[in-house]
Subunit: 298 residues, 2 copies
């Protein structure tokens, strides 16, 4: 994506990604190193970028949304660290680099994940202390943080991980697959967009439209990932292809032909974009972003 | 402890402990079962009891503090589940029952811990939505939740777990041991008391005094635990004695004689109580609570 705002958002995140970790005592410096390792291991920053873009789209000040954007990346990164653990997906490589537990050991990887998740909430709660006397901005922040906690939790990402794990080695229905993908991926993507919208002071209509966009985008994103796992370039992905099949994961390519998956991906992407049609050019960033999703799975 | 308020507080927690978990879809019901299993496995509820007691001590309404008290127990419970994992302390028994991963498997135990930690913040954030138009109560809640996130995180409990793990099999200084115990245990106990105090609308002096009490109580609590591990009754503890020595954990009984440990415990407990002397009978609950700590390690 060569859109200027994509780069601007990504640079902002990359620049500030370590700023909202608590000041850690040298006695537990390995914890800091382990968290930093995964935070700076080349993530695409999609969720925080969407949060910033959504905040700006509704007229908000993205500078003040940065703590929430970084917190979102802390949550995403914790989920990857725990997901890669031997007891979970048992992955040795992520984005072309050894996974956290391969470098720091399993115990430290568990704690680095726990530390990142807690730091995400600590950072957002700390930010709220700055707005104790501005009730409008405070309310926006409380709503944003609640969206993020819901999307990351037992009605969102964690639920998706559980269902994903339980579906391994089983015949999986389309309904169950949609549930898994919606929760595992789309919930946190929708939470990012909704949190950004709340922070920026979105109207009810803007919030509804952005949510529709994000939920469909999130599903598209996961399907593109599934397709990539079947026929992607290992070098480009930074991990081995065919992983899902080897692990008997429930994915769309197990249930449908590749052509059908690609058609579903295109369909979801178009549905996502349709939610923002009424904003014409103002939604250009989100349209380009969605088109990139389809391109990945092509 | 047969103090009437102890029972009242404990009953309140036991009664409401599952109320603040999010409504979980039947597709991820195992997640709910795994979280429920550890939440109802006979915990003493010390941290939430201290939160309620502290709220009431400063004149607050404990009914409105229950979500925060339960969230505190969710955080404590997640930390036990992760701590018991094979990659961490590898414990098979906790409070006389099989540990979470022995029942639900390692992957589900990791996710149950993640789910509990996220649910704690989700519950507290959701509660804040009820007070959007009451700026006094809202500020108290924001301060309480920030205390909890700090105490649970990388400058608190997680830092303590990391230092504890890294100190295994090593000669450990008194300074390092204090750091480990302060962070691993006292930080969350102090956070419970401070959060309760904020929720109840404490004055600066009350907050300072309660903090001094809780920090010393927290250290005393960990030393009592260390002593119990050396010479406690297995039946009563619900787990094997001699665990710490077997794992070459850094504890006070490795550094000092049992007599010295008991003297240190007594000293810390007295220091804890001294912070609340000026409140005379009003601090009776906290004094009884602290005395019980010494009695455990006797």
């Amino acid at each position: 994506m060569d859109d200027i705002s994509y780069k601007t958002y990504k640079n902002l995140i990359d620049e500030h990604i370590l700023d909202f970790l608590p000041e850690i005592d040298h006695k537990s410096i390995t914890l800091y190193d382990a968290m930093k390792y995964s935070l700076t291991a080349g993530g695409k920053r999609l969720r925080p970028i969407l949060l910033l873009a959504s905040c700006e789209f509704v007229g908000g000040d993205i500078g003040t949304a940065i703590p929430y954007a970084c917190a979102m990346e802390y949550i995403h990164t914790y989920s990857l660290i725990h997901d890669d653990l031997p007891a979970m997906d048992d992955d040795e490589l992520r984005r072309g680099l050894p996974t956290n537990h391969m470098v720091y050991g399993e115990a430290m990887a568990i704690l680095a994940g726990d530390g990142l998740l807690t730091s995400a909430f600590e950072a957002m709660n700390k930010d709220m202390l700055l707005y104790l006397d501005d009730s409008v901005k405070l309310k926006r922040r409380i709503r944003a943080i609640y969206e993020i906690s819901k999307g990351a939790g037992c009605r969102g990402m964690v639920a998706g991980q559980v269902a994903d794990m339980e579906a391994e080695n089983k015949q999986c229905s389309k309904e169950m697959l949609d549930y898994i993908h919606f929760n595992k991926t789309a919930a946190l993507i929708a939470a990012s967009v909704r949190a950004g919208a709340y922070l920026g002071g979105a109207t009810e209509k803007q919030l509804r439209d952005l949510t529709g966009y994000a939920e469909n985008l999130g599903l598209a994103f996961q399907i593109a990932d599934d397709i990539l796992d079947v026929c992607g370039d290992e070098q480009e992905m930074g991990k081995k292809a065919g992983n899902d099949e080897k692990k008997h994961k429930a994915t769309y390519p197990c249930l449908y032909s590749l052509e059908e998956c690609k058609a579903y991906l295109k369909d979801l992407t178009e549905t996502a974009m349709s939610f923002l049609e009424c904003y014409y050019d103002e939604a250009e960033f989100f349209n380009t972003f969605a088109e990139e999703m389809v391109a990945r799975g092509k």
